[in-house]
């Protein structure tokens, strides 16, 4: 790592970095207002939908006695999946001392916090009796995978928030010391309180490094558990399509694909919106592209195992399920998801050109949307084909199609997640300033200086 010796040069560079990286906080234009207006609109509409659902009952959804888990559960799995990227980028790659991942880690943590927070909320929205939510704690039975899920999801949320917050403390002190009239008073107050009296001495840095290391190690088993346990919600049943032993690693691999795509999209948005071309550089997109190819290849391997092996045998109930996916009513969705969401991105991202910011951002959008439909394909087709025939019930019990209320509530979850990310981006720098400055060779002592002007 190169070191800048001249104090003057260091101060100048630090000023520039701080200026660039706080642009997201300072910037306030029509576009920002419009964006928050859209977010609040959709969140409001979704909450209204939820009130209707509570009032009338879950019957306002397309779910019935046979397909009793629908889009909400698919969406829940999607959000858990997306959130898993926090653990990969800000913990695993950090521990492996992979330097390019450092500026990306805060973006990954934003995605992780938003994803896992919404996952928790969606599950409550899927409950028939959300008013009895506390029963989960009052009467919890530890034999149920739902209790394991509640345990690990809350633990993951706490660790993710801490992993977001700890490296933020030196930045908060920096903001406290350097920001002036350009940010409102209440924001400064937040910085002052959250900075916890940081003054940047060696002992404090040592504590933060130590705590971060512990958290990074802790989040590995927790991160792996959240998605493994989520897969067990399905694998613990006897239904064809779910009753397989590879569901845990299959879900984890798929989660990295979805999460990487989400992080790339967000990086691109920040790069364009906040003029961070020199921070989210082409090399970061290039590396993220390689990472996406790698995790997609792992996921492809699990997909082949998941579908080819039972497809070779075509056991009775399993065969009905697979036929339905390969050539039945879900076949177009299935093949589009596999090709557009998995095979094509792998092939394209092997070329250097497609790992440039704009192409990879577009590819990532397709990957992320496919990832959502992939969860839909995991949940619904299996439920549509129980072991015993579906008889003596109305037509709408036999196949599932989501209703407008369900779509409203699902849109709510997307916009609420974007809301969390937007608020975090408006409050805190999207890249860790002190880590970045250090990377550029600025000595830590300049960080805690208050500028003269």
């Amino acid at each position: 790592m190169k070191k800048i010796e001249s104090a003057e040069e260091s101060r100048k560079l630090l000023d520039k970095i701080t200026f660039d990286l706080t642009r997201s906080i300072v910037k306030k234009d029509e576009m920002t207002r419009f964006w928050f207006f859209i977010l609040i609109m959709f969140i409001g509409v979704g909450l209204w939908g939820w009130i209707i659902q509570i009032d009338k009952g879950l019957g306002v959804t397309g779910m019935r006695d046979y397909v009793s888990w629908g889009m909400y559960i698919a969406n829940f799995v999607f959000f858990v999946a997306v959130s898993l990227i926090g653990f990969l980028l800000s913990s695993a790659l950090h521990l492996l001392k992979i330097d390019w991942a450092k500026p990306v880690s805060r973006v990954a943590e934003q995605v992780a916090i938003a994803g896992v927070a919404l996952a928790g909320l969606i599950i409550v929205m899927d409950m028939g009796r959300p008013d009895r939510f506390l029963n989960v704690f009052l009467h919890g039975r530890f034999a149920s995978p739902i209790i394991w899920d509640v345990t690990v999801v809350t633990t993951y949320l706490v660790i993710s928030v801490l992993l977001f917050y700890l490296p933020l403390i030196p930045d908060l002190a920096l903001l406290r010391d350097r920001m002036g009239s350009e940010v409102p008073k209440w924001k400064m107050k937040i910085y002052t309180i959250l900075a916890l009296g940081w003054n940047g001495n060696a002992k404090q840095y040592k504590t933060v490094y130590h705590a971060m290391r512990i958290l990074m190690l802790l989040i590995i088993p927790v991160g792996l558990s959240i998605h493994t346990v989520t897969s067990w919600l399905f694998a613990a049943t006897l239904r064809s399509g779910w009753d397989t032993t590879i569901l845990g690693p299959y879900f984890v691999a798929g989660a990295f694909v979805a999460g990487s795509a989400a992080v790339i999209i967000l990086m691109y948005a920040y790069r364009i919106r906040y003029g961070l071309k020199d921070y989210f550089e082409d090399i970061h997109f290039d590396q993220m592209g390689k990472l996406l190819v790698f995790v997609s290849l792992v996921y492809l391997y699990f997909n082949i195992n998941e579908f080819l092996v039972p497809g070779y045998k075509m056991k009775s109930a399993e065969g009905v399920h697979l036929t339905n996916l390969f050539s039945g009513s879900f076949s177009s969705m299935f093949w589009i998801v596999q090709i557009v969401g998995l095979v094509l991105p792998i092939i394209l991202l092997l070329c250097k050109y497609f790992r440039k910011p704009l192409p990879i951002a577009i590819i990532s959008v397709f990957v992320l949307v496919s990832a959502w439909f992939k969860r839909y394909l995991i949940v619904i087709p299996t439920m549509e084909h129980p072991f015993l025939p579906v008889q003596n019930v109305p037509e709408n019990f036999q196949t599932y199609s989501p209703t407008s209320i369900e779509i409203m509530i699902t849109l709510f979850s997307f916009f609420a997640a974007l809301m969390i990310i937007s608020v975090l981006a408006k409050l805190f720098p999207v890249i860790t300033i002190w880590e970045y400055a250090e990377e550029k060779g600025i000595d830590k002592k300049y960080l805690s200086e208050t500028p003269k002007n």
């Binding site: 009952g57 028939g128 009467h139 149920s144 439920m383």
Partner: protein, 305 residues
């Protein structure tokens, strides 16, 4: 079809008139015993078997039902010393659906909610179709109770898998876990919700039903407590159902009231359980549909697993 509904209507009418006259007669008798003035002010009541009856207001006295907590406590424990089993003779079923109807009445279900569902089955392409009444199998290794996060569905000592809809959070994990599609959910306000408002919850019949909670066959645990056969067993006109206690090794036919040895019945007829390869160990045994008393007349539904 139309014929069928008319016949049903006449049957229902007959049943209600019969029940009404019995209750009416009983009330006249009891009014003779208890010197009470008849006010002439009548009130409509629903009996536990689902019939609407009219009695004099002066006849009303509060029923001595156990309190909610007491009811739930004994409901969770079960009936001591019993081990309930059901045997369904597929060779006798002609799809009369009296079991389904009486069950829906007893448990206050909507028409599309079935604790007991008579399915038209065909095991493979070249085998004979048959009718198969299917209810909760009351498994001894129940997949549903394992996954319940709040212990709202549980296995009792007497073998019945019961539901506590005062506890259920409506996550529907049990529905996903059950391979027999035995569980139904209250997607909307249950049938006649206003009518039963404020009625003490009876865990052993799972009534009144509650919006956002699960329901399923309970072997009419409330009737078993009163030493009666389950509703469906009693309602069957064709002798399909046998019900009894495995500890006593005796099962009684709901139609003929004949009691036989459970083990002998099962052994002599090569009884089987549904999807035994799943290891759920059902308590409902099926006698194969051989030498059927009624030919199969249905149409096999294509929507098959």
């Amino acid at each position: 079809m139309e014929n069928n509904t008319r016949r049903n209507f006449i049957k229902k009418l007959g049943a209600s008139v019969g029940a009404a006259s019995v209750v009416g007669g009983a009330s006249i008798l009891s009014s003779c015993n208890r010197v009470e003035t008849v006010t002439g002010d009548t009130i409509q009541l629903l009996t536990s078997s689902g019939e609407l009856v009219e009695v004099d207001r002066s006849m009303l006295k509060p029923a001595d039902l156990p309190s909610l907590s007491e009811n739930q406590k004994r409901g969770r424990e079960g009936i001591p010393g019993k081990s309930w089993v059901m045997v369904i003779d597929l060779s006798k079923c002609r799809n009369a659906r009296e079991c389904m109807k009486s069950c829906q009445n007893h448990h206050q279900l909507r028409p599309e909610q079935h604790h007991m569902n008579v399915l038209q089955m065909q095991d493979s392409e070249h085998t004979a179709p048959y009718y198969m009444p299917k209810n909760c199998q009351h498994c001894d290794n129940p997949p549903c109770t394992k996954v319940c996060p709040v212990n709202a569905t549980f296995k009792r000592e007497d073998g019945i898998v019961l539901i506590d809809n005062e506890r259920c959070i409506g996550c529907r994990f049990c529905v996903a876990a059950c391979p027999y599609s035995a569980r139904v959910f209250n997607w909307f306000e249950p049938k006649d919700a206003e009518k039963y408002e404020g009625v003490t919850y009876n865990i052993e019949a799972n009534v009144p039903q509650k919006k956002g909670t699960i329901s399923k066959c309970l072997f009419s645990a409330d009737r078993l407590r009163d030493e009666q056969l389950p509703t469906c067993v009693s309602a069957c006109p064709n002798g399909v159902y046998w019900f009894g206690d495995r500890n006593e090794d005796a099962v009684t036919n709901g139609t003929t009231k004949e009691t036989v040895s459970f083990s002998k019945l099962v052994k002599d007829n090569a009884a089987y359980t549904l999807m035994e390869e799943l290891g759920t160990k059902p308590r409902v045994f099926y006698l194969p549909p051989k030498d059927r008393a009624f030919p199969f007349q249905g149409e096999i539904d294509d929507h098959h697993a």
